[in-house]
């Protein structure tokens, strides 16, 4: 089953004369157990598309279903709860809370779900260990390197075992080596038979990690390629 299934998504921004159509009928799908890349030039509508997939934006037309569930049919609150339960995010700028430790940052989704703080932090710490930065669990984000921060962000995306992980330019702020290792971790830790991973990137050095690459331009998916996953 497709984890993500989008049909004819349309989205415009602005009003009147300045109104620009960003998405012009996008069909997009991502399968469980796969890492799907969404690539294309800046301003082609990648970010808008994943925002809509994640439920952070409402589309003007078309339908989005996640794991067979139509997002549009859910109430605003249920959308948030759905997101909290089933989605994980990795942002380009990490968006870690500077005042929390690495482990605490990673534990935020668990805390948001109401888990006891000690338990959540313990779980997050274990995960950080699995991602290779267990020794920095108590460090503040500003003391970590970019790669380390992105790993913490990755842990945050994984800690509550979501079924869909959305990564927005996860390597754009990193040097090549760190980006490589983050992608390696992503493909090893995140890819799971029950989970779909959508990565927005235009870093072609990491294309090889993709199971499938959807090329996007000017508001539509132009073509999809399956490079065959050789890690």
């Amino acid at each position: 089953m497709n984890a993500v299934h989008c049909q004819q998504i349309e989205k415009s921004f602005g009003q009147g004369e300045t109104r620009t159509k960003v998405l012009r009928g996008v069909d997009f799908a991502a399968a469980q157990g796969e890492m799907t890349f969404l690539v294309g030039p800046s301003g082609c509508g990648k970010t808008t598309l994943i925002s809509i997939i994640a439920g952070l934006l409402a589309s003007d037309a078309g339908s989005v279903s996640l794991f067979g569930e139509s997002l549009c049919s859910l109430s605003a609150r249920d959308q948030i709860l759905f997101r909290r339960r089933h989605l994980g995010f990795v942002f380009q700028q990490y968006h870690l809370l500077p005042s929390l430790t690495a482990a605490e940052n990673a534990a935020v989704p668990l805390l948001a779900a109401g888990m006891n703080r000690k338990l959540a932090v313990k779980k997050a710490t274990e995960l950080l260990g699995a991602l290779g930065i267990g020794n920095r669990a108590d460090a503040a984000p500003r003391l970590l390197s970019g790669g380390q921060q992105q790993r913490v962000a990755l842990a945050r995306a994984l800690v509550h075992e979501p079924r869909l992980i959305i990564c927005d330019e996860p390597t754009a702020a990193l040097d090549h080596k760190s980006g490589e290792s983050v992608m390696e971790l992503l493909s090893s830790a995140a890819v799971h038979p029950d989970r779909a991973v959508v990565v927005v990137t235009h870093d072609n050095r990491v294309f090889r990690f993709a199971h499938r690459i959807a090329h996007m331009d000017d508001g539509v998916i132009t073509h999809i390629e399956s490079p065959g996953n050789q890690i």
């Binding site: 925002s51 934006l57 709860l81 997101r83 339960r85 942002f91 809370l97 929390l100 948001a112």
Partner: protein, 379 residues
């Protein structure tokens, strides 16, 4: 998430301290100003409050405040005694003679002439000497501030002499009488002697002081005395209030202080509100990330409320402690003696700060609630 909110708040030490400082400073400023103002105005009624032997003051009709008296007739005392519900009624004289020292220092003094038979109204709080010595002839009790005014640079000691209307009197006690609104030295003397300080006047009875019998409330009795004697009768607190109101209405002090208080309020509002609002704005990105992750608006509200309550609690507590310290210290200064930190001011300002922070945080909160979580994807 409370923990996350807490860490977010204290994470940026500089901002956190700045925020607390703003709240604490505004709190201190407001409490300080309102309390000093209230203390100052309250002085207008202090001499009334200081007579603890009576609950009702009987005076000439149309009396507006304590320092403006029209003498009663001696027979009015008997009339008041004839009102049922009066436990006792005793006369008191209030005059404003000039006192001169041997060295030539002089000052107008507020003299209370206490009934010779009972010494009702004697100053109970003494720094030096005994008020009981007022029974002796030509003896007076002077308040400490008055002493320092009349005998500048001299240490407090008994036995100093003053000349009042060619009468030589001896200071047998230095009292800690509650300060009056005016800076006149306060003298307690016996009625018949106080009359001679003033020079001849046709009538000299300033007030009749009354205590109600058990089971009669002062208010009830005051109303009854006024009805039955045609005189004006006020309870201690009514008379105090009337005197304070008189000064509020007829002096520029309230306007002056009012402006200060308003400025303090504005400064408090701007500094505190602005700082707190900015604090939320600066964390908007973090809030956005949390929102994307799936934190509900309800939790956001809880977080902001928690942060604002904490800032309020810590800031106001520190500010209040500063104010308390200020008043603890200032009470040692003779000019500010008996200035107290009104709990009403403490609580009122705390409530006001709560309001300001609530306003600021709700303004910030609106931004958080309206925030599009999709913003987080824009780097």
């Amino acid at each position: 998430m409370t923990y996350v909110a807490f860490q977010m708040l204290i994470g940026d030490r500089a901002k956190y301290i700045g925020l607390l400082f703003a709240v604490a400073f505004s709190t201190f400023l407001l409490q300080n100003q309102t309390s000093i103002f209230s203390n100052l105005m309250k002085r207008a009624g202090n001499q009334i409050r200081d007579v603890t032997d009576a609950d009702v003051w009987v005076m000439a009709p149309k009396t507006e405040y304590f320092d403006q008296t029209k003498a009663l007739q001696e027979s009015d005392l008997q009339k008041v005694r004839g009102v049922s519900g009066v436990d006792y009624a005793v006369r008191i004289f209030k005059g404003l003679p000039i006192a001169k020292t041997r060295k030539g220092q002089f000052a107008a003094c507020s003299v209370l002439g206490l009934d010779d038979a009972t010494l009702l109204g004697a100053p109970r709080n003494m720094i030096l000497g005994n008020w009981q010595d007022l029974w002796k002839p030509n003896c007076i009790v002077l308040d400490k501030a008055g002493y320092l005014l009349l005998f500048p640079g001299e240490e407090l000691k008994l036995g100093q002499e003053l000349e009042l209307n060619d009468q030589r009197v001896k200071v047998v006690g230095i009292s800690d009488a509650l300060p009056a609104f005016t800076t006149f030295p306060l003298i307690h003397a016996r009625y018949t002697e106080a009359l001679t300080f003033q020079g001849r006047q046709r009538q000299q009875l300033s007030f009749v002081l009354v205590r109600p019998t058990v089971g009669t409330s002062p208010d009830e009795l005051a109303t009854r005395i006024a009805e039955q004697t045609g005189l004006m009768a006020l309870t201690t607190s009514q008379f105090q209030r009337a005197s304070v109101v008189y000064y509020l209405k007829n002096t520029g002090i309230p306007v002056n202080f009012g402006i200060t208080v308003v400025v303090s309020i504005i400064v408090g509002l701007v500094v505190t509100g602005q700082t707190f609002y900015l604090f939320i704005l600066e964390n908007l990105k973090q809030f956005g990330a949390l929102k994307a992750i799936g934190v509900t608006n309800g939790s956001m509200l809880g977080m902001v409320l928690f942060q604002s309550s904490l800032v309020w609690f810590v800031g106001v507590s520190i500010g209040t402690a500063l104010s308390a310290t200020f008043f603890n210290i200032s009470s040692l200064v003779i000019q500010l003696r008996h200035f107290i930190f009104f709990w009403e001011s403490a609580v009122g300002v705390a409530a006001f700060m709560l309001l300001i922070i609530a306003l600021a945080s709700s303004a910030g909160l609106m931004r958080v609630i309206r925030l599009q979580p999709a913003e987080v994807f824009r780097s």
